[in-house]
């Protein structure tokens, strides 16, 4: 069929089954927006900032497992999108971003709103394309979706010059992809898997170390089965919360800088780490030479470059976590859970010694209480997104996540401003769930304009602001490591959050007591509108335990005396 490039973009998105595009128009992408106007196969959500469009597409992808799609114009539209690309890249989120570009004839002339988008985005995309011939456009979009969602997922940018979207040509959407240089290996080597299974049977203190790859690969039922079969204890990374399920007796908790005592001690004492889709990030390992120092390591990862990057691995297995764990289950039929009984008992003692807990108060609202309370009130019914800071860590520590894709946060890049737009995307993707963004008084302002988007499209996202009048996490480091010199972290000068939400067409609640919080959350859910619940929490609360950066995991600050 004859059509112009802009139509081809839309037809390709329709062929990929895209239901929602988040974006923001401008000169170089206007031809495509003209075609968006003429179609009604997918909806377009106009965010109020390109960064938010990309985070929303990202949140949509994380919540649904589908490829998120965002669209931006050239120049500043694209540069605004870069943080979104980098955020998705660091967490391996499948996403396609389509950006307008100046016409081919102007590329290289410093034309109006010209910027080298493929150059800038190269280090923060899985792959990117500049379309230089209309005939390539359908194939490129097909490849973009394939690359974004296969192997180790990631964002792909397609930069389309304006004259390409205006030009007419024949549209044939390819039915399959053939990239001779891209063949991710997903199966996992059988011999290696057998050896790993033998190692598990021979171990005395095995530990499942579950990472974000387990979520991406939708492996959770198999991982839970593996844990149950051998009664093998498990720890989760920040990205893997929900994989094991909060009620799972084999789950010790989250490990790492703000991991709980039992998890970090388990990692320090295990004799066999079974790493499933985790990548030994420095926030997880602490001091590398002390990390799992008594253990052999089985590392299952779809990305060979992750294996052996930071720690030496004894049983490398390149493959998709689901495929590998399924095969491990076959090999482990005769595993004897009794072998690890004393290991489990040791870990139980550790957990009893220092459980994941906090000292509640009757005078002030503790931020941890708010998280636990949300868990009690909505629990399984909610998807929780978050921003970056103390609130994020408390949410990860205290929320009873019981399925993957229930917890959405920027783990790798640590992007403040991610939570609200990601919540908008998640809610659009999974409308039947209550979506709550747990945020801070710093982070929420970094995409606060999205109140307008959520109000306009009636996307009822609940933002719970744990308001400590500080850039709390930075303030905490200043308390511990900078002698309480609170350089530029005091946020006492505040907007009127309630009025701000109302001014943009949402609801606002100011909360200073526990009763008010319960009432606000109930009302927010009933009213079904975008809202801010501004909760005044204990100002100087710290996230504990804490492993100081670069320290060994077993050296945790468990308590902090003023």
């Amino acid at each position: 069929m004859q059509m112009n490039g802009a139509q081809m973009v839309c037809e390709a998105l329709i062929a990929e089954g895209v239901k929602t595009v988040f974006g923001y128009p401008g000169g170089a992408i206007m031809n495509v927006y003209d075609e968006i106007y003429k179609q009604n196969s997918f909806e377009h959500i106009l965010t109020r900032h390109e960064q938010a469009a990309v985070h929303a597409a990202d949140g949509y992808a994380r919540a649904t497992g589908e490829v998120g799609v965002a669209m931006v114009t050239s120049g500043p539209g694209f540069t605004n999108a870069v943080t979104g690309l980098a955020t998705a890249y660091m967490d391996s989120i499948p996403m396609v971003v389509i950006s307008g570009q100046v016409p081919l004839s102007l590329i290289g002339t410093d034309g109006f709103q010209e910027i080298d988008a493929v150059g800038i985005s190269r280090p923060c995309t899985k792959h990117n394309y500049l379309v230089s011939d209309l005939a390539d456009l359908p194939r490129i979009i097909k490849e973009a979706f394939h690359i974004a969602s296969s192997g180790r997922p990631g964002p792909v940018l397609v930069d389309v010059p304006k004259d390409i979207t205006a030009e007419y040509g024949e549209f044939v959407y390819p039915s399959d992809v053939n990239i001779p240089t891209y063949k991710p290996n997903c199966k996992g080597n059988d011999r290696q898997i057998k050896k790993a299974a033998e190692a598990i049977k021979a171990a005395k203190k095995p530990l499942l170390y579950v990472g974000g790859g387990a979520v991406l690969s939708d492996a959770y039922t198999y991982i839970r089965e593996l844990a149950a079969l051998g009664q093998i204890p498990a720890v989760e990374t920040l990205m893997a919360r929900g994989v094991m399920g909060a009620e799972n007796p084999l789950l010790l908790g989250m490990l790492g800088m703000h991991g709980n005592y039992a998890s970090n001690m388990a990692m320090s004492e295990t004799d066999l780490v079974i790493s499933l889709g985790a990548r030994f990030d420095d926030r997880v390992t602490g001091k590398l030479s002390e990390f799992a120092r008594y253990a052999d390591i089985i590392h299952v990862d779809i990305d060979p470059a992750n294996i052996g990057k930071l720690v030496d691995v004894d049983y490398p297995i390149v493959g998709d976590v689901t495929n590998v764990v399924k095969k491990l289950l076959e090999e482990l039929k005769d595993i004897n859970p009794e072998n690890y009984a004393s290991w489990r008992a040791t870990l139980k003692r550790y957990d009893d010694l220092h459980p994941q807990a906090f000292r509640d108060s009757d005078e002030v609202i503790k931020p941890q209480w708010v998280i636990e309370r949300i868990g009690q009130l909505v629990g399984e019914q909610a998807i929780i997104t978050s921003d970056v800071g103390q609130h994020q860590m408390w949410a990860a520590q205290h929320y009873p996540f019981d399925r993957p894709r229930q917890w959405i946060n920027s783990g790798g890049l640590g992007t403040m401003g991610f939570g609200f737009p990601a919540a908008i995307g998640a809610k659009r993707g999974v409308p039947e769930k209550t979506v709550i963004n747990i945020t801070g008084d710093g982070s929420i302002l970094m995409n606060v304009q999205e109140l307008v988007t959520a109000a306009e499209y009636q996307i009822p996202v609940i933002n719970v602001i744990l308001n400590n009048n500080y850039l709390g996490m930075v303030r905490q480091w200043q308390t511990f490591f900078y002698d309480k010199r609170y350089s530029e972290t005091d946020l006492s000068f505040q907007p009127n959050f309630k009025a701000l939400a109302e001014a943009c067409g949402g609801l606002g609640y100011d909360v200073t007591t526990k009763e008010e919080f319960d009432a606000a959350l109930k009302d927010a859910i009933e009213q079904n509108k975008v809202c801010f619940i501004n909760v005044s929490v204990n100002r100087l609360e710290n996230v504990l335990p804490m492993v100081p950066a670069g320290g060994a995991l077993y050296n945790m600050l468990l308590d902090h005396k003023e």
Binding site: T181, A305, K309
Partner: protein, 156 residues
Amino acid sequence: MEIVRRVISVIVMNESSVLARVSGLFAGRGYNIDSLTVAPIPGSELSHITIVTYGNQKVIEQITKQLNKLIPTLKVIEHEEMVEKEMVLVKFPIESNLSDIQALSSAYNGGIVNVGIDMVITMVADEPVRIRHYIEAAQRYNPIEIVRGGVVAIER
């Protein structure tokens, strides 16, 4: 860990930004590039990139894995057993002793390739170490300009 020198051959799709992807990878991840050459492979849509780099074993392993990860990469060959050659062009002032320069260059399997009014140009293609020696030896004839071609390598 011991720092080693490695020659890595990368076979890539011959597309517009592929060199930027490769060099950007090295810059972004802090890997060394000692030399880098690239040219299309005749009769194909591929290019052959030869990179000489230094690093410990872990770094070299990461380099090959990261190169493999690039979408347009077909193959990465990292071998100790490579036949390596490099080419150098040297411009000398004509007042130097021409026959000495000729003799020196032919000792390194090269010779004079161009003579102008006031300069001669020699070309030598040999193993990288020998190229280094040639350049050292050439110093006494006051070379005006030295252009090295970078290492190319082929698997044995």
